[in-house]
């Protein structure tokens, strides 16, 4: 598989770009040449069975992990060359909230705000906390929050620095319907009205479709399917998912993990 040209080469701005990305842990090849491009403001949902490599792919795209081979660009920036500028453009909501339980919600947001050099931090904290519905509990310790409330606070943390790209790794855990609606709303920055690009990794098909413009299916470390636009409905996605994750398909592609 030949790598796709870089965004800079074709002159199309992309919020996120991956070319020929592989990842090996010991003898196990977890990702086998991922090519992916997400335009600014575009949202893509990645579905796949357990062990398909979804979280590993997201860790590489979010610059926490490096690919074994291949390259990644965030908003045209190579994280290997300028990791700080690349990270400044990324926000991550994971099933882990990345919050310190002994600190209050405000202290957590202030800490991350300082790490991202967020201007007018106190105002921004108040606005984000109001937006995710935790303003009344800003001065409570995170340990006293329910799982759903922690996820709401994690959402505020992830968008505090107004990232260009939002990465969501199974973000739905503990969230009620209001929380899920909030997740959809967070994809647009309220102050500028700018649509954020987003990659959503989830097993929740309806949520993934609600959050995304197009879908991809990752099986055995390969992108087995990518839709080109939002032409797919839930039934079509289910059909594609069943087909691409069937044992017969996996064996035809060389099986997972080989």
């Amino acid at each position: 598989m030949s790598p796709e040209p870089t965004v800079a080469e074709v002159g199309i701005p992309a919020a996120l770009f991956a070319s020929g990305v592989t990842k090996r842990f010991g003898h196990r090849l977890v990702l086998k040449g991922i090519n992916l491009s997400v335009a600014p403001g575009e949202r893509i949902a990645i579905f796949g069975p357990n062990g398909a490599g979804k979280s590993t792919l997201l860790r590489i795209l979010s610059t926490v992990s490096s690919p074994t081979t291949g390259r990644v660009e965030v908003d045209g920036i190579d994280p290997e060359q300028d990791p700080r500028e690349a990270r400044r453009r990324i926000g991550v909501i994971s099933h882990y909230p990345y919050l310190y339980g002994d600190l209050t919600a405000r202290e957590n947001l202030r800490f991350y705000g300082r790490m991202y050099d967020v201007p007018h931090l106190d105002d921004r904290i108040t606005r984000m906390a109001t937006r995710v519905g935790i303003a009344a509990r800003l001065d409570d310790r995170v340990d006293t929050f329910s799982h759903g409330m922690q996820q709401r606070l994690a959402m505020a943390r992830a968008v505090l620095h107004d990232p260009e790209v939002l990465m969501l790794d199974e973000p739905e855990g503990g969230l009620d319907q209001d929380g899920l609606n909030l997740l959809v709303n967070l994809l647009t920055e309220p102050e500028s009205g700018r649509r954020r690009a987003a990659i959503v990794v989830t097993h929740h098909l309806d949520l993934g479709l609600a959050l995304s413009d197009r879908v991809a299916i990752l099986v055995g470390g390969r992108l087995a399917f990518q839709s080109t636009s939002g032409e797919l409905d839930a039934a079509s996605v289910r059909e594609h998912y069943s087909r691409h994750t069937s044992p017969a398909y996996a064996s035809a592609r060389g099986g997972p993990g080989k």
Binding site: Y98, D102, M115
Partner: protein
Amino acid sequence: MRSYLDKVLAIVGKDVASELRTREVLSSMFVFAVLVIVVFNFAFELNVENNEAVAPGVLWVAIIFAGMLGLNRSFISEKDRGCMEGLLLCPVDRSAIYVGKMLGNLLFMLTMEAIVLPIFAAFFNLSVFDPKLLLVVLLGTIGFAAVGTLFAAVAVHTRTREVMLPILLLPVAVPVLVAAVKATGEAIARTPPSTPGPWLGVLVGFDVIFLTVAYLTFEYVFQE
């Protein structure tokens, strides 16, 4: 540079705020250090002749093992709720994370020592307000915290982290430990040596080496 310093201070401030609320690290370090001093005090039959020979070793065993408790905790708190990953996602040099965590550990160890040293002095009938002794304790603690923070970050990735930290750290920290014990012996001697030994200089040398190596290599701890 100002932004770098602000991030270092944000990490130190976060650790201090967390500790002020829980007092988990300081209380466990303090109790352990006092227990070590008390146990050694009863275990050895101390008198004026052997006091100076035994005291430096007892002090540094207490500091090193109590310090290890604090070092173990420093990165475990980052593992909870995936905070380490949250920290790695931040647009900061990995070295700023190291410096922040190291300064936090150093602060906790120095606070523990400020309480433990008078108790140690009382048990061993020594003067604690000797500037040379305080300087030796400060330098020894800097060296230990410098290399200890690096190995605590390594050990936290392992399943047996509480056991792994002393196994990794103690062999490497031996030069600092030996220099600190010898320099402490000189500092508390009732008849100071006519020509002071090289131990204070050795301690400074190892502090510089450990700080530099840990600062430069910390980035690689988080590579998969």
